[in-house]
Every structure is written in C-alpha cells, then in structure tokens.
Amino acid sequence: MKRLKTLCGAVALASTVALTACGGSGTGSGVAQSGGDLVMARADEATSLLPSVPTDNASIWVIEEIYDTLTVPDQSGKSVQPSLATSWTQSPDKLSWTFHLRKDAKFTNGKAVTSADVKFSIEQNQKSDAPFSFIDTVITKIDTPDAATVVFHTKKPWSPLPADMALYANSIVPADYGGKSATEFAKHPVGSGPFKFASWSKGSSLKIVKNAKYWRKGLPHLDSVTFTTVPDSNTRATQLASNQIQINEYPSNSSIKTLKAQPNLTVNMFPSSEIDYLSMNVRRAPFDDVNVRKAISLAIDKKAILQAVYYGHGTLAGGFLSPTTWAHNASIKPVPHDVAAAKAALAKSSHPHGFTTTIMVGSGSQDSSSEAQLVQGDLAKIGIKVKIKTLDPSAESTAKHAGNYDMAFGLYTTDIVDPDEIARFAGTYDGGSNTLYSGYKNSKMDALAATASSSSQQSERKAAYDKMQQIIADNVPYIPLFYVPGIYSYGKVKGFHPAATGNYFLEKVQLTK
C-alpha cells in the first residue's frame, strides 16, 4: 500500500495553534446504537474502485468494504481467515492450490458468487498494466471444475498463495464485469462485500450503504458510511471536534498530544506493518563502503528523531521485517546511537575524515524534512556534511527508481499477510525496488527468498527470513528506522480496529450515542 505523508508544511504550523484551542463535543464511550451514517474524513480521494487498478489507500479501504476476497487477513496480520473460500489445500506435488467457495455469497446484483467470477477477477489482476500483477504472475492457469471450486496452478511451489488471495487487488468481481465495460463497471461497482456502492460525488464524498443480504449474518451494523475528502489535517481535526465527522484518518503526529487531552475523542494506535527507513545508494562512492554505511547507522540518534518528529509514536526498528509478521527476527536489535563507534567505523573506511553528500527529501512532508535536519546534525558530528535536497514526491520517486540519489527516506507497508512480498521488495535486487533503491545485490538473498516461498514448513521459512534480515543488518544497504503504528482519532464510534494490513472491517463498527 502506498501512503504519501503529505502534510502541507505551512498549514501544520497553524494546526498546533488551532488544536490547542478547540473543544470537543463527541462522547468516546457511549452506548452502541444500530444503524446510522458514519462519516470518515481522509486526506486524499479514492482514485478508482476497480480492484485491479488503484494503489492508494483511499481506494483500497473502500474496495475492501465493497468486495470480498477469497481469504481475509486476521486482525494481527499474521495469517488469513476464510472469507469467500471456506477451505484451501495445496496439492501433494505442491504445484496447485484448490479453493472451495462458500455457496451462500451473492453479489449485490443478486447473482451467486461462483468459480467463474473468481477466475475472471484474478485474471484482471494478471494483466500487465495492473500494479499488483507481480503478486499473481506465479499463477499459470486457473481451473474451475465446478461452480464452487477453483484450482490455481503455480509455476513453482508457492506457500504465500492463500495470503495473496487476501489482497484487495484480488477482490472478486462478477465475471465479465456483469456484461459491462471496465469503465462502466467502475462507475457502479458491484461486489459481495458488507457494503454496497451508493454514490460518488468526485472531489468531496463517496457513500456506501449496508448490504442487507451480506452473507455474514447480522453484519454490518451501520446503515451507511460516507468518506469525505478533507486534504488539510487541521480541518479534519476541527471537524472531528465538532462531530461533523466521526473518524479522522491520519491525524498529524504533532496534533496527537492535544487530541488525546480532549475527553470526548479517542486517539488509537493500531499495530501496522509500516517501517520507515533511510536508504543509501551503494552504487555510489562512498556508500559502496560498508564501513561508511555502518558509521552512518551508528551516528544517527534514532531515539531523538522518534521523539522529535514522531512524538514517540513508534518503536526503534531492528530487522527489516515488521514485528507484525511471524517472520520478524527479534534477535536483531536496533543499532545503538554511539558517536565513538561511528567515528571508529568511519576511520576504517575509505573516507576516514568524512565527506560531503546529499539527502533527498520529498516536498510537502514536514516530517521528512525535520528528520533530514536531525540526520544532518548527527552526521556533522562525525565529519559527514549533508546537504538537504528537496524534490516533489513524483520526482523523488523517479530519482529513487533511477538510483539517482545519495541518501533518501522512505517507508513501506505490506499488502499481504505473508512475509514473502516485503522479503522480496526490501530484501532482493529484483524484487521491484533494487533492495529499497540502495542497489545492494546479493545472490544469497534471492536464494533465501526462493527457499522461503517454496517451503511449506513454517520453521524452514522462518529460518530463511531470519537469515535475510541478518544479512541486511550486517551489510546496512539501508537503515530500518522505526516500526510505525497506524494512528486514528475518532469520536462517537465503537468497534473500530484496523488490521495490521490496514483493513478497516467497517462491518463491525458501530456509532455510539
């Protein structure tokens, strides 16, 4: 999932003033009521409700309410639960997976969900222009022996498949989009999820209403959910205070303390798979020298950044796989802040007296720019002069992909509950990002990722992932900085518990009086 930390810097300045002054009127722990319209404000508008198209969270979280997937992530983000599929098994030769579908699920157009719909849906996400096609490229063929059975044939033994099927991009749509073109279907999407698409006034709000015939009996509780687009984080906070909205996505870090002080508002942090990192371009001198990279890692006072920029919301990171996955290597501890050790490491390097370099920062992100200044100060202490280079997010992304930078910040989250996606994305050169844009190449990492995804023994997989995390920790192509929680502030709401993968499960949410 993609999340731009967009926060108009100048506006953030005003937010502190405004927030300390505003009062609240919502009640955090009232009596749950049935029905009602929940209003949720978000920074960005959804871009498309066609599952195979978008990559932005604003779209993803609506898609997850409208459609079902074969499996669904559990709360912790460690495994998947049955959803449209009731059970699944891997063949003895490990080259195919068979999924058995539930028979009581219906699309909101009244038609039953069948294996033909599943085949069509997955094939849409296999098209080359689909952003998440890489997740499904391992599937060579989809068979539908009967209406309630789907068989996926895979190129190689593939353990992550049940987790892959929980990805929003693999949501189940009616076969042939119910006879419509993709564009027409996207205007009036039809799924089998807890909510049904109602209306979308582009630029301001998107409304979904209760699917009364949802196959999970008794759900959802709400009558409808309205997602409004409010770009300014300060305006979202004041709207929450005046009960104009009930849930605020992404309150700014700086506003959390004041929000917490308000008796009627709840600020909650949910474990998320987000990891923020600092990447170094090992293709360029002097970052090709591991001692330089180690020196930088030791010189940065991560604890101070966590306090100053994140206001303490998060934990210092060790291994590059998040603690929300079972593959997390807990034996890797965060690198301590040690200036003497950093100087010693630099002394052993090709540039013992330091050098001049740049750090790239995306514009519009107050957080990244403060982080860069703190890193600049820390590195100056060991003789490394850092210039801060600000680029707008799109240009920044191009520079990262082209390997045209020295140091850069970034963050990643997982889209599937299996560690395979991130192990490849952040651990291997060919996994999509050239090892998080560092350009670090190590054939051992590729071999370990392959072993882990083909083995069906969890212990064997874990051993491989542990080793991968150790290799990154030893070679430091990038520094995992923080494990960051998902932060939401809300008013008169009960039962709102986003999963580690970000799913909202709005069918379980209730408004309170």
Binding site: F134, P231, D232, Q244
Partner: protein
C-alpha cells in the same frame, strides 16, 4: 464595438496557445513519471512500461505535443489518468464551484473595501482610518491559509455558525459552506483594493469638479456617490480585474484548507500525480478565465468612463 470585440478575441488566441504550450512543456520536462506514480512503487517495471505505452508516453515529445494540440482543436481535453475520467466531465463538476467561489470573493472584496476606503478617504486622520490601516497590515501580513484556519476555528468551531470545512450535498448547505472560504480569499485582496480606492477617492476629493459641486451647494452624500466614487470606481475596476488572477490562485490554496472540491484542489492533485492532461486543462481554463475577465474589465471601463473608446 463588434470589430473591437472580434479583434480582442483574435488576440486571445496567441495568449491561450502560449499558456497551453508552456504548461505542456513545463509538465513534460519536470522529473517524475505519471505511470510510476499511478502504479505505486511496488509495481514491476514491465507494468510501468505497459502503462506508459497505453498512455502514449513512449512517443517522442514533439509528437505528443502535436497530438495534444490536435486533440485540443477538436475540443477534447483528454482523460485524467488520476481520476480515470474524461476531463470535460471533471470540469463540469469543478469549474462552477471555483467560479462561484471567485465571484463570491470578488463581491465580498467590494462589500468590505468600499466602506473602508470611503471612510478612510473622508476622514484620513480619524481613528477609523488608523484602524483600517492596521487591519490592512495584519490581513496582508498573515498568509491566507492561516486566516482560513483561524476563521474555521472561530466561526466554525467556537461559535459554530459555519461548517468547519467540507462541501455538503444540498444547495443551501453549499452556499453556506462557501462563505468562509470566499471571505478568506477576499481578505487577501481587500488591503490592495482599499489602498487603491482610498488614494483614488482622496485624489477625486481634491479635484475641481468636486470643488465645483460643493460650490454649487450639493450635499456630501451625492458628491461621494455621484462624483467621487464614480471616478474612483474606474481604478477600483482595474484593480479588481488584475486581482482576479490573485483571487483564482487564492482559491487554489483555500480550497484545500476548506475541503472545497473546485479547480484548485484538482490542479494540486494533478500536479502531484503528474496528470499531464489534467494540469494542462486546468491551466488552459484558468488562462481563459483571466482573458475573459480582462475583456470584461475593458468593457466596464468603457461603461464607466466615456473618455475610454473601444477602438
């Protein structure tokens, strides 16, 4: 008159072509890839290449430019790759909102500026004039987004008369929701307007026709409205005409703060996501808007000032 109008319209063509061309090349030469931005950082290079091909971004830039001009001549603004929708339909939803916002803020600018300017022109050393000067300094010094945030805080939350941002579905709610943003934008232009009007009014008060009107025994009220404001109004109109560009760019920022779904927020989204067609279309529309307003300003001149001839 008709000939004048036709000539002005013809002159607008190179202006519009210039706007279109500059925005095309500025967007295409800026680093950043729309396909990568749309597909996210995890998408494979093959997916990005497939999308670039689908969108015609793998063609040479002159060819893309010619295709764009051809499309434009046919009245087709293209498709937004971010919103997955034809731009004409997006414009139909968003342009009226911004136009209403700009018109409303122009009206508010006049409603606030005229009394303030005439008061400080008639009593240049009074307490009111000092207060107006102070007000001008504060309002002009504070950035509009800050003023917007403060208005939301006081009139949206403390004394909840107006909604704290947002754009409701009903017409009445919408009109109400536009008041604070329009006021915020207007406050950005008021100081310039007040200063210009005040100077023009003071000059007008010192003129011979006012002395003549006084000497023939006309009371102060008709002098102020019939002579002074009528003459100062000419400079007022030209200031307002020039400021429409500023009002429109004010709308760009303020729509974000108040969550108003107009052209400004769409243009911002377009720029950040490298939605070339969308940004070009927005710039074109803003350009046309300014051309039309300048035309209107000239027409208003002729109406107010018999000395100005449309030739």
């Amino acid at each position: 008159m008709l000939r004048w109008f036709a000539r002005r319209l013809l002159l607008a063509i190179p202006v519009v072509w210039g706007v279109v061309t500059i925005s095309f090349f500025m967007m295409h030469l800026a680093p950043g890839d729309p396909a990568r931005t749309a597909l996210g950082e995890k998408a494979s290079n093959a997916s990005v290449a497939a999308l670039r091909h689908q969108w015609g971004l793998d063609q040479s830039m002159p060819l893309q430019y010619l295709n764009y001009l051809k499309q434009l001549v046919h009245g087709d603004l293209g498709t937004s790759v971010y919103y997955h929708a034809p731009i004409t339909s997006l414009m139909a939803q968003r342009l009226p909102v911004t136009i209403i916002l700009v018109v409303l803020s122009a009206i508010l600018t006049m409603l606030i500026s005229v009394p303030l300017a005439s008061r400080s022109a008639t009593h240049p050393n009074g307490i009111a004039a000092v207060a107006v000067r102070l007000f001008n300094a504060v309002v002009q010094g504070a950035p509009t987004f800050f003023i917007g945030a403060m208005l939301i805080l006081f009139l949206g939350v403390r004394i909840a008369i107006f909604p704290a941002g947002g754009y409701p579905a009903d017409i009445g709610g919408r009109a109400w929701a536009l008041v604070l943003p329009a006021l915020t934008i207007a406050l950005g232009t008021v100081p310039i307007m007040v200063r210009g009007l005040r100077a023009a009014m003071i000059e007008s008060y010192g003129s011979e026709y006012v002395a003549f009107a006084r000497s023939k025994g006309l009371p102060e009220r008709p002098i102020r409205y019939g002579y002074v404001l009528r003459n100062a109004g000419i400079s007022g109109v030209s200031i307002l005409g020039i400021q429409v560009g500023a009002l429109a760019s004010g709308a760009l920022v303020i729509e974000q703060v108040f969550a108003i779904p107009g052209m400004g927020s769409m243009l911002m989204t377009g720029i950040l996501n490298r939605d070339y067609a969308l940004v070009q279309a927005c710039t074109l529309v803003f350009g046309l808007l300014v051309v039309v307003v300048y035309l209107g300003t000239d027409l208003a001149y002729a109406r107010l000032d018999p000395r100005a001839r449309l030739s």
